[in-house]
């Protein structure tokens, strides 16, 4: 494990939380957010106060994860963001969504072209702005 502000027990709670939010799926052939590689990413992306947020979750336990989510929405929101950000940048997850497993910079991505004729009426309009002198 990389340097982390979490001790072993807290790391275990993080894994339980991650699995509670995003479990593995056979249907979509994707790992859960408690996958070791994804948890390592979360530990490397830990925010100040993460240990306290995890303690708040642990007081409820996995069985009452939904109750925790609704009674502590701000805390749950911070934890969700950490889990979701790390999960949805994992190559296996991106590929399963039909995305290229790479950041957009510097190559960019091809954008699907829409129906540009929708703009024809706009292009045909007389100017609705005041000309600058």
């Amino acid at each position: 494990m990389p340097d982390t502000p979490l001790d072993q027990d807290e790391q275990e709670i993080l894994s339980q939380l991650a699995a509670a939010i995003i479990p593995a799926s056979d249907t979509y052939a994707v790992p859960g957010a408690d996958d070791a590689q994804i948890v390592r990413d979360m530990l490397g992306s830990a925010y100040a106060g993460l240990a306290a947020d995890l303690a708040s979750f642990a007081a409820f336990g996995v069985e009452k994860a939904e109750t925790f989510r609704h009674e502590h929405p701000m805390t749950a929101g911070r934890l969700e963001r950490l889990v979701v950000e790390c999960y949805y940048r994992d190559d296996r997850v991106l590929t399963s969504l039909g995305l290229e497993a790479r950041p957009p910079f510097p190559k960019g991505f091809e954008v699907d072209q829409g129906d540009w004729s929708l703009l024809d009426p706009v292009r045909a309009m007389v100017p609705i702005y005041r000309a600058v002198d």
Binding site: A20, P23, Y28, V30, E66, G77, V84, Y88, L94, L97
Partner: protein, 189 residues
């Protein structure tokens, strides 16, 4: 009412889609996560209304009587209440945006007003004007009360403007700098 800008957004990227779905409870925790996330993926877009908040005396920034930073400097205390006019503008914009999205084929819409996370434009409190009793800086950015003090930022706005303000801020900075240059000989008179 003065008006507001409608800003359409491109489709949300993956993380933002999932975070939005979680916030709206369209995406659950647990086994239903993947199907719900895929249902929304590449299918979310949105609009923002930037409403022009009017200057109101009940909105103030003062020095907090108790809270201080580590150097003993008082913290700013912000008192802000949405006016009836601003609430009406937001309500109006939500109706218009909903119409636009539904006309574009939206099957579900959500509205959040005012937004909890995101860009609030911090403007006003040292408004520009010619009357020292109702404004802080004159028409070229110099403080009425302190002749060698110029304020060149968003605080000199009179209203919040119903737009993203950066271009106007840049124009104001250029204008005030030019005024200072032209008035060098009498700048502090």
């Amino acid at each position: 009412m003065r008006g507001y800008l409608l800003e359409s957004h491109r489709g949300a990227a993956t993380v933002e889609t999932v975070m939005t779905g979680l916030e709206w409870e369209e995406i659950p925790w647990g086994p239903g996560h993947h199907a719900a996330a895929r249902k929304l993926h590449k299918r979310i877009t949105g609009f923002v209304a930037v409403c022009e908040d009017m200057p109101e005396l009940h909105n103030t920034v003062t020095l907090d009587p108790d809270l201080k930073d580590s150097n003993g400097i008082p913290a700013p205390k912000i008192s802000y209440t949405l006016s009836e006019n601003s609430i009406k503008m937001m309500d109006h914009s939500i109706v218009r945006i909903t119409e636009i999205l539904e006309a574009a084929g939206a099957t579900q819409t959500h509205a959040v007003a005012p937004i909890e996370y995101g860009g609030w434009h911090w403007l006003g409190t040292a408004r520009m004007g010619t009357d020292p009793t109702t404004s802080v800086v004159n028409e070229w950015g110099r403080a009425h009360d302190v002749k060698n003090l110029f304020i060149v930022d968003g605080s000199i706005f009179v209203t919040s403007s119903g737009l993203n303000p950066t271009s106007t801020l840049q124009a104001m900075a250029l204008y005030i700098a030019d005024q200072m240059k032209q008035r060098l000989e009498t700048l502090f008179d």
